[in-house]
Amino acid sequence: MAVSPAPTPVPAWQRGRVTSWLVTTDHKRIGLLYIGTALFFFVLAGLMAMALRLQLAQANSDLIGPERYNELVTIHGTAMVFLVVVPILAGLGNYLLPLMLGARDVAFPRLNALSYWLFLLGGVVLMLSFFASGGAAQAGWTSYPPLSVEQAGTGQDLWILSLHILTASSLAGAINFIVTTHSMRTRGMTWTRMPLFVWSMYIFAWLLMAVLPTLSAGLTLLLLDRGISIGPWDIQTHFFAPAEGGAPVLYQHAFWFFGHPEVYVMALPAFGIVSEVIPVFARKPIFGYKAVAFSTVAIGFFSMLVWAHHMFTVGMPNALNGFFMVASMIIAVPTGVKIFNWLATLWRGNISFDTPMLFVLGFLSIFTIGGLSGIYLAAFPIDWQVHDTYFVVAHFHYVILGGSVFAIFGGLYYWWPKMFGKMLGETLGKWHFWLMFVGFNVTFFPQHLLGLDGMPRRIYTYSDESWEGYNLTSTIGSWVMGIAILLFFVNILRTSRTGLRVGNDPWQADTLEWYTTSPPPPHNFDDVPYVTSARPLYDLRRRLREQRGARTSL
């Protein structure tokens, strides 16, 4: 590729330490803004969770009243999904997609900047809704009507507004990822030579495009049911009000048609990270590249056919329940394919246990449990028993926190040296991992048992003292995780001050982002090698070795 043209001169005011970040359209800077902002919200939403756990540590506790508890439950869930996991993945995708594809930037850099600033705005609106009249939304992150229609004050309206803004942000980002993947791949990078992380971000983007409009529709109807005033007109609809012929369950369909694919929006890119990290730390190619890539597509497709498994207790005909059970179980097949392929990638490898790999191995062991508990939930008569209990809370935290978030931390440790040129400290990193791993299981494993014993989710207190032991254990675990996360931030600070510079490719990885400098220049690459396989850098190193006759690495 030709040497990039000289950069166009930018006005002086845009080159300041702060202003340059405000006006940036560089996908790497936008990616870092995404990640940093999402980590900030992660701390806020995590502190909310620790407060909730504190309230539940004892029976009949009145530390946090029911009103504040319901606010925290709602905003913790909403923030973790919309302000933490999805945007942090979008941030990684932003940073890595052009680099992995050998491109200069994403297809629409300005749209990309818009997408970030909308995300920030949506997040600020959601967090500030605590100060709204009547407090923040209190109907849970699912916000089912009539409860969500009934809630007085403006918190629920701000919740809807925030989600509308975040939806617009996600759609802009999704369009960018799709077009970039289609049109910006470097020479030689065919679809089956794309990194698996790119595959997963590509399906991530299509899923968002497919399901977010349904959420927007549901939220708009909810807003209209709550009533709005435009100039002289007061509009109040009754889509979900049974007294006027509406149906509350309609909202649930709209919400979950989005909500279940959203789980895979959060999981697929995490799978992508795992598929990048395992081969590098096992020094092997991914086992069954095409099977892993195709299973991503299959999961994306089937995820749109399973939404009503969140609604087995609303009284659907059992024929429908049966359909959604079978569809949900079908997803277990491509998911199993991934797990077995990852295991096979470890087989006969040369495995190193650096922090990124530890997090990914932790992901494997935890996500398996989350996937398996999902089989119980798919079998709808069993779901009638455990639905809306702490069993479900445990299940989705095993999938999203123990799954996605572990993989995200693995990804952050793995790509940190690319983003900043410095390796995050290994000692603190290992402490972070082990505290997180133990803390996670101590927090969430007992919640399975609580759910089986009849403890519903979203209750601010309980009087059954036989639940106290598990709840206290769970609370202690959550604080261990809190300490683990604190160590992560200490690690970041220490690395930024004293971290070692480690060169362009400290892991001897396989994909194009490691070909350029760390951190990469604004234009990413001076030249990009012709891509001959899914592991262009491995091919390069091998050719170099052959030329030099050397036995080991560069």
């Binding site: 509350p248 392929n341 040369n350 119980y376 008569p381 639905h387």
Partner: protein, 337 residues
């Protein structure tokens, strides 16, 4: 960087794996051993539908445990066996790109398991979902209404009860589960008596139970329904059939005469959850000594229509039920008043 300390890493890996295996084992075994609830199974069933769910749970568990052990064992095994040891950090592992037969195997093998699970669920389903088709006379019908934040039960003879249901032993009880149009969604759930079913405004859902052993079975609302969702407790007291019949008949007479426990049940189940048992206040304002408690007309107005943040807890109540409450408050004002 880490590459320098070869043997240290190796020991660390082994130690780490031991910690991992040990903590996972402890996490599974210890709570199950200590738990007085049967451990990793749903609550001990007391009704055929709950038994069907319990059997399904156990059947699925066989496969779940098998896959769990298989995957976690392979993971630990591979990680230990293929760790780096004295090899160079960047030395290639075996460059294997895949194996079609293996891929087919681990695609088809889960399919077989899932077919088995699905088949068993459908085999058990009729025993769980279908209300036993006894002659209508041999079956008790109860209408269960979920409301913010109490459960109301209506028996065929017009007897009303709050939160605590009485039911006869050995007789199928069919429940119609509803919520009024001006209320929100609740979910009826007594774990020992079967799965939950939502009480949705505008919808009539049904579930059932049939209990042989007299006793008290407890549960609570399972769908977030507002501030006092956590206090929306329910219980079913199963009485020997004769005892139940006489209770129902007696309650019918008392309810007409205005001497039934309905007034007290209403105070405790409907009012006290927000205003406190002796009216000391809580989420709702304190009622101790409030004149409204002695003013039947004003009380009825508030209870039927709600006021500010208080929901219209008594919209749709019969006059009989309203009088039960006003009579009770007149006779035994909360907090001694």
């Amino acid at each position: 960087m880490v590459a320098a300390s070869g043997t240290f890493i190796e020991w660390q890996a082994v130690r780490a794996l031991l910690v991992l295996a040990g903590s996972l084992l402890a996490l599974v075994v210890v709570p199950v051993a200590l738990g007085d609830n049967g451990g990793f199974t749903p609550v001990e069933p007391a009704s055929p539908n709950a038994e069907g769910i319990h059997r399904s749970w156990l059947f699925v568990s066989i496969f779940i445990l098998f896959i769990f052990v298989l995957v976690e064992t392979l993971l630990v095994l591979f990680v230990v066996r293929f760790r780096r040891r004295r090899r160079d950090r960047f030395e290639d592992g075996a460059q294997i790109h895949g194996a079609t037969r293996l891929e087919l195997l681990w695609t088809l093998f889960p399919v077989v398991i899932l077919v088995a699970i699905g088949a068993f669920v459908f085999y058990e389903l009729p025993g769980i979902a279908n209300v036993p088709s006894a002659a209508a006379g041999d079956r008790l019908e109860v209408r269960v209404t979920g409301r913010q934040f109490y459960w109301q039960y209506e028996y065929p003879n017009g007897v009303i009860a709050i939160d605590k249901m009485r039911a006869p032993a050995g007789v199928p009880v069919r429940l119609e589960v509803v919520s009024p149009d001006d209320d929100v969604i609740h979910s009826w759930w007594i774990p020992a008596l079967g799965g939950k079913i939502d009480a949705i405004p505008g919808t009539v859902n049904e579930t059932w139970f049939e209990v042989d052993d007299p006793g008290v079975y407890t549960g609570q609302c399972a769908e977030l329904c507002g501030l006092q969702h956590a206090q929306m407790l329910a219980s079913v007291e199963v009485l020997p059939e004769a005892e139940f019949d006489s209770w129902l008949a007696e309650r019918r007479t008392e309810q007409t005469a205005g001497t039934s426990e309905l007034g007290q049940e209403t105070w405790e189940g409907v009012c006290a959850k927000c205003h406190g048992l002796s009216g000391e206040g809580g989420i709702g304002r304190p009622l101790t000594g409030s004149p409204i408690l002695q003013d039947a007309q004003a009380l009825e107005n508030v209870v039927r229509n709600g006021r500010r943040t208080m929901p219209a807890v008594g919209s749709g109540w019969t006059d009989e039920q309203m009088e039960a409450l006003t009579n009770y408050l007149e006779e035994s004002p909360p907090g001694g008043g």
